[in-house]
């Protein structure tokens, strides 16, 4: 029931009342809040502190919010930081404008502090989900690389090392077709596109071991194989 602990959030507004109010609520949620009051400060602070999120008011003295946003997106250090825009302008035209530029959310004043906190939480939930662990997950398939084990639906699938390399390579980019040459090169180190049935054989063995989940490995004629994150039912039979 709280935001990720120690989330650092940068709030930008020229009205100190607003920043204070937001700071109060966010710090109650366990966030570290940095408040600044003009455009130039934002850019400096964002690049230096690397907050997890920026709450940006559009109406700022000097450099306005749009300009600040564009600058944030051109600096490699701040490019990927989510931005929640805040504005007194509530016309659909303005909201669309903000979202179109790439804002992650747009909230109009006056707003409920509670709603702001919740919207911030929603954004952080999605953007911080990047897993630090050394695991590869696609749907019900979880690869624990450390132990070289594949879990399907919570149950271990007993794969050999070759099969493991094969499915890992495909799972790394699910729903993308990998050509035979690509796979032979990645798993076997073959440079030339040999015409052997080796790859096919291992694909079959994989499908066999996956049982009902075998349809996750798809064939695209003339193109190659791929890991299908959402196999269709009618393809399973």
């Amino acid at each position: 029931m709280c935001l990720n602990r120690m989330s650092r959030i940068l709030i930008v507004d020229d009205e100190k009342d607003i920043t204070d109010l937001v700071t109060l609520h966010l710090s109650q949620e366990g966030c570290e809040v940095i408040a600044v009051h003009n455009g130039l400060e934002v850019l400096e602070t964002a690049a230096k502190e690397r907050p997890q999120l920026i709450v940006l008011d559009i109406m700022l003295p000097g450099m306005d919010g749009w300009q600040v946003f564009r600058n944030l997106r051109t600096d490699a250090r701040t490019r990927s930081i989510p931005v929640l825009m805040l504005s007194a302008r509530s016309q659909p035209r303005d909201r669309i404008n903000g979202l179109e530029m790439g804002a992650d959310d747009y909230l109009t004043k006056p707003f409920s502090p509670r709603e702001l906190v919740l919207r911030i939480r929603a954004i952080l939930r999605r953007s911080q989900k990047v897993s630090i662990s050394d695991e590869l997950r696609v749907g019900d398939f979880v690869v624990d690389r450390q132990n070289m084990v594949l879990l399907v639906d919570g149950k271990v699938a007993d794969l050999t090392s070759t099969e493991m390399k094969l499915i890992c390579f495909m799972m790394a980019n699910p729903d993308v077709i990998h050509s035979r040459g690509e796979l032979l090169n990645a798993v076997w180190g073959y440079a030339d596109d040999t015409h052997s049935r080796t790859l096919d054989t291992h694909v079959k063995r994989l499908r066999d071991k996956l049982g009902d989940h075998g349809s996750h490995i798809g064939t695209v004629r003339k193109q190659g194989y791929l890991f299908v994150s959402n196999p269709r039912k009618d393809a399973a039979k």
Copy 2:
């Protein structure tokens, strides 16, 4: 300026007008859209299809949106799918309620379709890695060249590589007549204008696979074929 290719989105609303409208806009963005109209369907479809995002109307007959949402969050298969809530109730109390439960966004009716698309894009941007695909788009037809897949109205059309080359070539210059020689050269590499029925046969197969949309491929006697971006309705029969 486009959503991720092949994003599968589940839209839930009891009013068919709404789902149709949203489907239209999203399929133009290259999304595969699945529309359902009651609560039970949502749970089944979500677990089976694993969409990248769910647009959920709160006012549903039978099981209401809140209950659907809770069920989505308790099923391991659907727990991590982002949800954008849609509702006619615009009170802060309702918005907060939705966000508090863990929705990723909350939009009130009436809404601008453009804003909905943008908000969906914002969520997807954060929840999945962005990949820029080279795609070819004409009207409701979206070609994902990397995966050799054609999406028509958000649904995949299963084409062979020859058919793919053919429609890509015509879509590259829609509403322009391509002579038989031009097409035979581009797709088959034939230099001489042979008098075989090869091209005709493949055109027919394409039209068959496109079903109702077959009228997008037009014939001009003695001149050649072309991709028609806006076929007349009376030609569809």
